[in-house]
């Protein structure tokens, strides 16, 4: 599904990613762990196409197509969802309006008809309910006045509504208390744990991986994947720290 080969990327002229290779097949959940500054967020932004993140070498394909040649909204329409570490506040635009615009733009790009207002509201109520967000919150401006935990839950509501094929989740667990972590983790499993879908989960902590069990764990350090393994690697990291593993 996603194939990254020898990916190099710079931000402000500084090389952050120094040759990353990674293949993700449908049905798989991959976790990327690593110390601060190792390039985890940069990898997620490069895959989503954020301006200012320049790929200098290597490739990334999605379903065999050159991902890096697509605009951010085209990547979304192709089925990629980026869960933000710091979801952005957008005053003046309601969640409902934003999501309906986004979903229908994706549908149009795929040659599908717009979802009717009624169907859309039903879908968003269903998804919001499952993440414990009220429709009142959905009618509020995007992330404005939301707590850290509410923002992350809102990301998962959006993921549920958009229903992507590949979710890249950048520290979706950061800033969550134990109960919220459970809600969010269950959300990821419910929405994405399917044979035709895949997840790239960027996290610092084992706790989320106890809920969303990864098939593969990679350690990113200094812009490279320095180790890959099964779920047991995450436990090893938790015990011994990055310094030991990345050395």
């Amino acid at each position: 599904m996603l194939k990254i080969e020898n990916l190099h990327a710079t931000v402000d002229g500084k090389e952050i990613l120094k040759g990353i290779s990674l293949a993700i097949a449908p049905g798989e959940i991959h976790a990327i762990m690593g110390p601060n500054g190792s390039g985890k967020s940069t990898l997620s932004y490069v895959l989503a196409g954020r301006p200012g993140y320049e790929v200098t070498a290597g490739s990334a394909t999605f379903d065999g197509k050159d991902l890096l040649a697509l605009e951010p909204h085209e990547r979304a329409a192709a089925g990629i969802f980026l869960g933000f570490q710091y979801p952005v506040e957008i005053p003046g635009v309601s969640n409902v309006q934003f999501l309906r615009t986004a979903l229908n733009a994706q549908r149009r790009a795929r040659g599908q008809l717009d979802l009717s207002a009624g169907d859309f509201l039903r879908l968003s109520r269903e998804q919001a309910d499952k993440l414990g967000l009220s429709m009142d919150m959905m009618k509020r401006h995007v992330n404005v006045g939301f707590s850290g935990g509410e923002k992350k839950r809102n990301e998962m509501v959006q993921m549920g509504i958009i229903d992507p094929r590949l979710a890249i989740l950048d520290e979706t667990d950061s800033g969550l208390d134990i109960d919220a972590l459970r809600v969010v983790g269950d959300g990821i499993n419910r929405i994405m744990r399917k044979p035709d879908k895949a997840v790239l989960l960027i996290t610092h902590y084992q706790r989320l991986l106890d809920i969303v069990r990864p098939d593969f764990v990679h350690v990113l350090a200094g812009g490279r994947i320095v180790r890959s393994g099964g779920p047991e690697l995450a436990h090893e990291l938790e015990r011994e720290g990055y310094a030991e593993i990345a050395a």
């Binding site: 196409g49 301006p51 951010p72 952005v88 957008i90 635009v93 986004a102 979903l103 733009a105």
Partner: protein, 372 residues
């Protein structure tokens, strides 16, 4: 007529470009009434006035309580307002008058220049709601005088939708004790504008609000100059200015709050924000505060920038195409100035005007068009 116009060397006119006015004024008006006029439905046979080139079209008007005739309007020494003649329209509401509902006035300019004064006088506790819509392509020049007695309330909404030409509006308002003067203006057409306002809170605990959304593209210029003057204690005022400039367009706002020595406990708020949709656009924002009282609360803020890049990427990463994302953010920005329009139908009309401005806009990232 020889036009004696102020030059940009005059501080109050530094961002103005009136150089096109003599040419526009020299053009002969066509005089035809457009087949379709932007009346708002749903107000029954409420009062309405249609002016074409400054002249009332009686057969398409229903003046209600409005007189046409000599009016007293100030200031006659204003560079543009002094051009208006003695005759105009006048709305006087006595304290026992039932509210008229929405008064709709359409000003059509078919070319040339027309100058018209207006006078709105609201007696104790009287209320009025006025919607003025400006269309056409000549120079429409207006002087409007508003006098609100104790407890009176006026909601004044203005849509400037002309295809081209120039619209200049000069307002003078006196707001009495506990009275409320609220205005909302939207410039979403192709005309250049000059908006002058001098709002005086002459009674205790008076309230004034001025909100405006100025949208400009091409080489268009909007130029606004407003002062709200607190003369008495316990008054409050609020100004919300939202400017959007694309291409080579310029939006300039000089907004002032004066607080006199006796005007203790004044609460004044000013928010001036501008967004440049292209790197070649210009936004000027000049918030001014002059306070002589010592126990007042005055907040002011001015920001000029581009659309928030993080927000744009957030929208795009969810699948919203760039032009749509820019439109969504810009509409949200403009809505700040229009959300306080009390009448829902009027508010909807304003939002629809904004919408149609966007559908004809070149909301394309400047990189794509190869602009600097």
């Amino acid at each position: 007529m020889l036009l004696d116009l102020p030059s940009a060397r005059n501080e109050g006119w530094r961002w103005s470009n009136l150089s096109a006015l003599p040419d526009i004024a020299a053009r002969a008006p066509v005089g035809t009434v457009p087949a379709e006029l932007p009346w708002l439905d749903g107000y029954g046979d409420g009062p309405r006035l249609l002016f074409v080139d400054g002249k009332l079209v009686a057969e398409q008007s229903n003046p209600g309580a409005i007189d046409i005739g000599p009016v007293e309007a100030e200031p006659r020494d204003h560079a543009l307002a002094r051009l208006v003649g003695p005759e105009g329209w006048r709305l006087r509401m006595g304290r026992d008058h039932a509210p008229q509902g929405l008064v709709q006035i359409i000003h059509v300019s078919t070319g040339g220049a027309d100058h018209l004064p207006a006078e709105v006088v609201l007696d104790v506790d009287a209320q009025a709601e006025i919607l003025e819509t400006y269309i056409g392509n000549g120079w429409t020049n207006r002087l409007s005088s508003f006098r609100l007695a104790k407890g009176a309330r006026l909601m004044l909404s203005r849509r400037l939708l002309g295809d081209g030409g120039f619209v200049s509006l000069t307002d003078r308002a006196e707001v009495g004790e506990g009275a409320s003067f609220v205005s909302a203006t939207l410039a979403a057409g192709g005309a250049d504008t000059r908006l002058d306002g001098d709002i005086r809170l002459t009674g205790k605990a008076a309230y004034a609000e001025a909100a405006a959304a100025l949208l400009a593209r091409g080489s268009q210029r909007h130029d606004a100059n407003l002062a709200i003057r607190h003369w008495q204690p316990n008054g409050s005022s609020r100004q919300v200015w939202r400017s959007v400039a694309d291409d080579m367009a310029t939006c300039s706002v000089a907004a002032r709050v004066d607080v006199a020595r006796d005007a203790q406990k004044t609460d004044g708020e000013q928010s001036l924000k501008g967004i440049m949709l292209s790197r070649t656009a210009t936004i000027n924002a000049k918030p001014e505060l002059e306070i002589f009282a010592d126990d007042v609360k005055c907040a002011h803020g001015a920001t000029v920038g581009e659309l928030d890049k993080a927000a744009l990427f957030y929208l795009e990463s969810r699948g919203v195409p760039p032009e749509e994302a820019r439109g969504l953010l810009t509409r949200a920005f403009v809505a700040d100035a229009l959300e306080r329009i009390g009448d829902e139908e009027v508010r909807k009309a304003f939002y629809a005007d904004v919408e149609s401005w966007f559908t004809t806009s070149s909301l394309v990232p400047s990189e794509v068009e190869g602009r600097p």
